[in-house]
């Protein structure tokens, strides 16, 4: 591992990694069962230099912004490296958003460069891009006979002169990462080089990388966990990142054994899918074998309650660990709440699930469970350099989680008001409710803010989706997280509810319902409302006619309960 304290920027640290391990494999890219390419650090660097030279020749200057919009692949990391080499600011966009959302975020970020994969560009190039400031568009993997419009093909992009490394300072922006806000108020977190280098230094003692260590990258790389675990950490440790061009569970399972994976980051949805598959396999075993397995699992559970003993777990439960490739050290899970019984299931098998708590605003990880001992109903202890406080704690010790650290973002892009509300006297107000137990572990018990997090780790703010319901014959409407209206101490099964003020002459349960359903279907499944309630009072408003959401929520919570929700 490199000593990151000596580097002023991500670009400098990544350069040093490339120079230190030139002949080690840094990237393996497979498409289902076919390996497409394998690059050493030296080969990776040469390809990135070509892109960097092209960027500089096209006027990309230090401090300029470049967006990457593609699924996980080697070109994602090559592009990111090239952008940092040029001193640019990276804007990693979620490839799963719609074309309209991509345009909105590209415009908000004021990115002048877009590096995009062909299937996404095909849709994007049909949109009106006049609101963006895009000057250079690079498209990857466009078929030879495809029309690419104003874009330049990746393989043709180069510069006449060698790219020049541009230095940056630790406090300069490195990335603008959107934590949400494509429909309402985009929340572009401006994260600095210092944020990333400090975060990397804090977490690599927990999950070190070395030449030969392999990370399987399946969570989108714009997500904080994969950006850190599947790029910065391996590349500053000489490790290898494996990209599969698919999320099919059967190919992921195969990749574990084929590539002898050391780490993989997952969201709770994927973990539950793995759990389901394993439970089905165990249930299908002959009774005698199942009894033996259960006995070995009990032995492993007892032996690893205080701390992991990987060598013992691998010995006792050889076949299970062999199915994961035999070299797996940990599955890193975050982005959303993981049920304790799922964590227990894997822990009993000796497969370490490093669960934790974090948010984009704090770079990546705030707390992490180090398994010493195993505490499945907590989110672990603060990582090195992180201070965590509980504000306005009630008698039960539960209050808002606040965080202070060198990893906390600089600000929200172009939103000083929201920044001032979110970072107060140097403390990041997370909007999450929790408490710290006697052993210093954090437990999360609800949300103060009006939003939900899906099992795939997607943050959904009601303002993001309200515009899809505009135009309906409603006097007024508002979307809320159900737990915001009716607080409960649970972080799972979060749902969105639309509150509608209708004209008494309308037929709310006939035409209105079907109109709501039609609008709802226009949203991707994870953004949909689960139901609606009808409200017969005018919404409270400010002098400038903005809805006073917190007042309305309090009124609703007082007057009706969840049974009033009409499910769609």
């Amino acid at each position: 591992m490199l000593d990151l304290s000596q580097y002023e920027s991500l670009g400098a640290a990544l350069n040093a990694g490339v120079e230190r391990w030139p002949d080690e494999v840094c990237l393996i890219e497979a498409d289902r069962e076919q390996e497409r390419c394998r690059l050493t650090y030296r080969q990776f660097r040469d390809e990135a230099y070509r892109i960097a030279a092209g960027l500089e020749e096209n006027g990309f200057a230090a401090g300029d912004r470049a967006a990457i919009l593609m699924s996980n692949q080697s070109k994602w990391l090559i592009s990111a490296y090239a952008i940092f080499y040029c001193g640019g600011v990276l804007v990693p966009l979620d490839y799963k958003l719609s074309a309209a959302e991509h345009v909105a975020l590209a415009a908000h970020s004021k990115a002048s460069v877009l590096i995009v994969e062909y299937p996404i560009w095909r849709a994007l190039s049909q949109m009106d891009l006049s609101a963006t400031q895009l000057q250079t568009v690079l498209v990857t993997e466009a078929p030879a006979n495809a029309e690419v419009g104003r874009a330049i093909r990746w393989e043709e992009f180069r510069g006449e002169k060698k790219a020049e490394f541009r230095t940056r300072q630790r406090q300069d922006p490195a990335c603008i990462v959107y934590s949400s806000g494509t429909g309402g108020r985009p929340k572009g977190c401006v994260l600095t080089h210092d944020n990333y280098l400090e975060q990397c230094a804090a977490v690599t003692p927990l999950w070190p990388f070395w030449p030969g260590a392999r990370y399987l990258s399946i969570i989108p790389t714009n997500h904080a966990i994969d950006f850190m675990g599947g790029f910065i950490m391996p590349f500053t440790g000489g490790g290898t990142v494996v990209h599969l061009r698919t999320l099919r569970p059967e190919y992921i399972r195969e990749a574990f054994t084929r590539y002898k994976i050391t780490y993989m980051a997952v969201v709770p949805l994927i973990l539950k899918n793995l759990e389901r598959g394993l439970r089905e396999r165990f249930a299908a075993l002959p009774a005698a074998k199942r009894r033996v397995l259960n006995a070995l699992v009990r032995m492993n559970r007892a032996a690893t309650r205080r701390r992991p003993r990987l060598w013992l777990s691998r010995m006792l439960l050889k076949d299970i660990h062999a199915a994961f490739g035999g070299e797996l050290r940990a599955l890193l899970v975050g982005g959303a709440f993981t049920e304790p019984k799922t964590l227990e299931f894997f822990h009993d098998l000796g497969i370490q699930i490093a669960n934790g708590y974090g948010c984009t605003e704090a770079c990546t990880a705030i707390t992490v469970n180090d398994m010493r001992p195993f505490c499945p109903d907590t989110l672990g202890k603060p990582v090195a350099g992180m201070q965590v406080r509980i504000l306005n704690a009630g008698a039960d010790g539960v209050g808002e989680v606040a965080v202070r650290s060198k990893t906390v973002m600089s600000h929200y892009l172009d939103d000083p008001e929201l920044t001032a509300e979110t970072i107060v006297d140097g403390w990041l107000m997370t909007g999450d409710l929790g408490k710290i137990d006697a052993s210093g572990h954090l437990q999360l018990l609800g949300r103060k803010k009006n939003m939900i997090v899906t099992a795939e780790g997607k943050n959904i703010y009601p303002e993001d989706i309200e515009n899809v319901f505009e135009g309906l014959p409603l006097k007024e409407f508002c979307v809320f997280a159900a737990n915001y209206l009716w607080p409960q101490r649970s972080m799972t099964g979060e749902q969105l509810v639309l509150v509608a003020r209708v004209d008494p002459s309308q037929n709310p349960n006939g035409a209105m319902r079907s109109e709501l359903e039609k609008c709802n279907q226009r949203l991707v499944p994870y953004k949909r409302i689960s139901g609606y309630i009808l409200w017969d009072e005018d919404f409270p408003r400010t002098a400038s006619l903005k809805i006073k959401r917190n007042v309305l929520a309090e009124q609703i919570g007082r007057q009706v309960d969840r049974s009033a929700v009409q499910t769609l």
Binding site: R32, S71, Y95, K96, S98, E117, P119, I120, R245, T246, L247, R248, P249, E250, L269, I270, N273, A455, E456, Q521, V524, P525, Y526
Partner: protein
């Protein structure tokens, strides 16, 4: 060559079989996430099953954002 209607019918039949739901409960315009009560990973399982049945490969990006059987059928049909 199969028509789009035939392809759609086969998809509905296979989905009903895979997720153990009566075939008559499914219609081409249905949102398969909602009707089959599945998440995105289980949807990918279904798509793999359909790939094997039709003898095609459907890259992940082709099914990105697809939520109803009819649209899924048209993506499959274009590769037959």
């Amino acid at each position: 060559m199969k028509t789009l209607e035939q392809t759609t019918e086969e998809i509905l039949r296979l989905a009903a079989q895979h997720f153990k739901i009566p075939r008559e409960e499914l219609a081409p315009g249905d949102d398969f996430y909602k009707k089959l009560k599945i998440d995105s990973l289980r949807a990918l399982e279904l798509i793999t099953r359909l790939e094997n049945h039709f003898g095609i490969e459907l890259p992940d990006y082709e099914v990105q954002g697809v939520t109803d059987f009819r649209t899924l059928a048209s993506r499959i049909q274009s590769r037959l």
